[in-house]
Symmetry: C2
Subunit: 234 residues, 2 copies
């Protein structure tokens, strides 16, 4: 029988639990409306622990944005959309992958750093910069595939690789807003569909390339029972 069989959360991971709680609570309520007490409660710690790990609430905001960057980039790095040999296929597979992530409750699939950017862009530059680094850093990961696809398909474009990469993020962020307005994730998926159609048009490929429909992998959200792990029986 090991010593220290305490059921309560392990000592030493309060910081991580605070960041995970912040990720979910802030996506629900927004940054400003989330109190430090809310964050402590979601992590199961007291304010002493909070202010031991973060000097101020804004400091947690910065840390949460960085935490988001690290966790999501790990997910994207190991995601299956990199597998196709054709670079355009990889771009389309990325968009299909993103579309697959949009499911469940709103706070489960929306973007933490996009949400925080909206709120703090004018009042908390440190948080905003951390969010911007997350958004544009992720967008930049798409650029090599887009560039390779452009060369392979001999596209002489009136658009830049960087702007298309950013545009994909804009569409996702905007889709999240429409989804939040009604609580319906279909509104976000719908815009991704238009984006996919746009990219296909840019590269002059038909509508039926790459229909792998990548399975949804784990996305930063508190473990919630995912309904329908098997397809419906009808």
């Amino acid at each position: 029988m090991p010593r220290s069989t305490k059921q309560s959360p392990e000592r030493g991971d309060a910081r991580t639990r605070l960041l995970e709680g912040a990720r979910d609570v802030i996506r629900r309520k927004g940054f400003a409306a989330t109190s430090v007490d809310d964050l402590c409660q979601s992590a199961g710690v007291t304010k002493g622990a909070f202010f031991y790990h973060f000097n101020t609430k804004d400091a947690l905001g910065v840390a949460a944005a960085n935490f988001w960057s690290e966790t999501t980039s790990a997910i994207f790095a190991s995601a299956p959309y990199h597998e196709p040999d054709d670079p355009l296929e990889r771009v389309l597979a990325y968009l299909d992958f993103r579309k697959g992530l949009i499911d469940g409750e709103t706070f489960e699939y929306t973007c933490l750093v996009g949400t925080m950017t909206q709120e703090v862009h004018d009042s908390a530059p440190a948080i905003r910069d951390a969010c911007a680094a997350s958004i544009f850093g992720h967008a930049a990961t798409l650029e090599t595939d887009i560039e390779a696809a452009r060369k392979q398909h001999n596209i002489d474009a009136d658009w830049t690789v960087e702007s298309l990469a950013r545009h994909t993020q804009a569409v996702l962020q905007g889709g999240f807003i429409l989804a939040k307005a009604t609580g319906d994730p279909d509104l976000a998926r719908e815009s991704v569909d238009h984006l996919i159609r746009y990219v296909r048009g840019l590269f002059r490929v038909g509508p039926n390339t790459s229909e792998t429909n990548y399975e949804k992998s784990s996305w930063p959200a508190s473990k919630s029972p995912r309904k329908r792990s098997l397809p419906p029986s009808n």
Copy 2:
């Protein structure tokens, strides 16, 4: 000499000034971070006036969303993008018009109801519904032109008119987020350019139709001196 030459703001329009102040301050700081005192100060009134006109802060949020709907739909109704005879030209002119509105400080061109939706979607259903009505109500105004263009160009589409109308709003909202992340309106205009290219592709028209570049009209923002009312001299 007329009686009541008081320089101070007219009696009777405190409500309007509160809504106008809310429009600008909330776009800067967000809804939750904007205090009632902030709103009173921006309108030049006291809390007595505020709570005379609005029972609660959330009630002002609803009223601000409705105010936004009314003022912006008046602007769009009288905007020049309705002039072209060709319906597709009107759609493209609308997007060009929206692009032209993106200028100046961030709080001047971003969308109030999009901002508020992000924050209160899960905690203030009344505000969220008012915002949703504004967003989707505006999107619906595009549907007749899109539908007419689709018939005229004989497009048998795999997309619905409604979804394309919504997609335009998603792109705009997403562009606003990217612009807020850096303070650079070019990031929003860039996404509108991609959207315009997408719509042209959907209707199979070349890149050089309708380049009117409609002059920017008045958009809900506090009167700020607009630089460069004349084009640069080079």
